[in-house]
Assembly symmetry: C2
Homo-oligomer: 360 residues x 2
């Protein structure tokens, strides 16, 4: 499929790199393609960033048939554009599509569209330490029909947003509250898909936690409310007595790209790492015995987010004196180093965007 | 708040009443109002039915912050327009809003807006036996921001769709499959709210059931996959040994307006009715003992939908010889009779739309 390019005639002012707020500023262009049942994906195009116009009866507004992804592009010191394992995001998008009865995308073509878009938006990639260009591919169901059934029409869209440094004054531990009342996902539900409804349902718990001074919640499983699942938009890892443990993918946890990378990195370093079921009780016992050495979340936004305090059952568990642990620091430095081309990439994770695709 | 009215200059052709398909045809106008944090709801207006224009970063596309309702308007023989317990829908919408961290609507004002819209669209209400005007109020989050937090902007919209008779050749039992793999909702999740994500997650099970020749799935609870919850977009009732049983509202079941009305109607008739936990095992045992007399779903679309066959664990449970039961018929006739003004309404459930509000 050919990608039609229509450039804007009115480029926006780019914000200063210390003024960047996550997800509020968008670049000059976006990528779109349409899907029609029977025809497949068609009309791939890069157009000026603009509103979407949809019938009020469109499936996305009523039955939430939608999936999304999140990844980043980085500008290296020698002005190369790097993506971090973008094929993983495209694969996950297709797994989400399966769960939501939505059509597959051609992963390679979507990546090609993304690369062309980024090439055009090259000047939007911020270069200051810790900054990057956040990439949001998403698919929405657009058939104007109120029957509860899979839509026959979709739009796949990629928008880009320059983002500032997540840690402005050095990597900073967060306080997290264990959620006892609300449930994010149950096995058999949509927890392992990246779809809108999971996030809509999570807002309430987040609101309660924030009011109590916590930045996020730690979700427990939907069945027994005992086993640790993940954090708002991060997977979770614990270092217990020298061993790193993260909840196994059980069907209700999102398989984070950062999570997979951390596991591979730890294995590469010969640090013991296990994916298994871990209950909040077990974690509490380890804490009581002084064996809980570090805790950290992993995700595209913060890469590594050390947890300094965990609130559970009326008790504050202070982890590593509320400071960033050694392993967390090493993982953060290595992973962000690889992502930004500062550290050698022995895994072949980074993908260079070659800029000979479009002439502008 | 004043409701601004802008009438269309190009009225659409109305489909013949035997050509009506649920949720595919929409009337000439829609009601909209906007919400802005700090200001509240504003700019209520009735405008020609038209596409909505939204920034691609709008919350609804990414995090699914949305709620909706569904009810009907009926034209009586003497040309009165009746709504059925519409205040219940507005109340439920506000309960959904709470769960989704969305702003409350003024229930009375929203109902007033609905009445004005229906008055304008009066000629769209089909009059043939079994037909009605389906009403879809919904709220979508429209702030262009990719942070996972409640939107600061919303649109409340009402669209109308004329619908044909649900049962064209007399009330007809359906075949339903008990769902063992997928989960609709868990306690602590969003199951008792009418929000998009619940329906997106249900499509997969529905697809599998349809492929096997079943029209819907019967959901079991998300925790033990043992207790009966509800059907696709209906609540469920069983008549067991002379007693009517329906699953109790446990936090993951939607509180149907039809469900409440059926319970009240049965109580009015002195027919024993109980809301309680009921497992699929218990139901199966009752069936084996010949005590399962009737089963029926209840919802706005079909009002009463008798279940003729239930598929569970490789076995087909044939209920009442696959025919519509006596109680199902009586409930259907009475409820549709009240809704359409043919049967006396001892409960004060119907609300007349008085047509002196707008001059057109
Ligand atoms: C629910 C959830 N879990 C985990 C993650 C982490 O995934 P990744 O490392 O791919 O960003 C995310 C963010 O994308 C998420 O939304
Ligand atoms: C999940 C679900 N359960 C039950 C119902 C029945 O509710 P009501 O009787 O208010 O139409 C509906 C339909 O609205 C529904 O979507």
């Amino acid at each position: 499929m050919k990608i039609d390019v229509q450039l804007t005639t009115a480029r926006k002012q780019k914000p200063a790199s210390d003024q960047l707020v996550f997800g509020k500023t968008f670049t000059d262009h976006m990528f779109i393609m349409d899907y029609t049942a029977g025809t497949g994906w068609h009309d791939a195009r890069i157009v000026p960033y603009q509103p979407i116009t949809l019938d009020p009866a469109s499936t996305v507004f009523h039955y939430g048939q939608t999936v999304f992804e999140g990844l980043k592009a980085y500008m290296t010191k020698d002005e190369q554009i790097l993506l971090f394992r973008p094929e993983k995001n495209m694969q996950r998008m297709n797994r989400s599509n399966d769960r939501l009865c939505m059509p597959h995308i051609d992963e390679e073509f979507a990546l090609e569209g993304l690369k062309q878009l980024i090439t055009i938006e090259r000047d939007w990639i911020p270069t200051a330490e810790g900054t990057s260009l956040y990439i949001r591919p998403f698919i929405i169901a657009t058939e104007p029909y109120l029957g509860v059934s899979p839509s026959k029409r979709y739009q796949f869209i990629i928008i880009l947003s320059p983002v500032g440094a997540y840690y402005k004054e050095g990597i900073n531990p967060v306080k997290i509250a264990v959620e006892n009342q609300y449930v994010r996902a149950a096995v058999g539900g949509t927890g392992n898909a990246k779809t809108a409804g999971n996030y809509a349902g999570s807002l309430k718990a987040q609101e309660v936690a924030e009011a109590a001074g916590y930045s996020q919640v730690l979700w427990l499983d939907g069945k027994e409310k005992q086993y640790i699942e993940e954090v708002g938009s991060m997977n979770i890892f614990f270092k217990i007595n020298g061993e790193v443990v993260t909840p196994a993918l059980n069907g209700s946890i999102l398989e984070g790209v950062t999570r997979s990378s951390i596991i591979e990195l730890l294995q590469h370093w010969n640090i013991p790492v296990t994916e298994r079921r871990i209950s909040i009780e077990e974690l509490y016992q380890a804490y009581k015995e002084g064996l809980l050495e570090e805790a950290f979340g992993t995700g595209t936004a913060a890469v590594i987010s050390p947890v300094g305090e965990l609130f559970w059952n009326g008790e504050k568990l202070i982890i590593n004196d509320g400071k960033t642990g050694e392993l967390s620091t090493k993982l953060y430095d290595t992973l962000t180093g690889i992502q930004t081309g500062k550290v050698e990439d022995p895994f072949g994770w980074t993908v260079r965007v070659l800029e000979n695709r479009v002439s502008i």
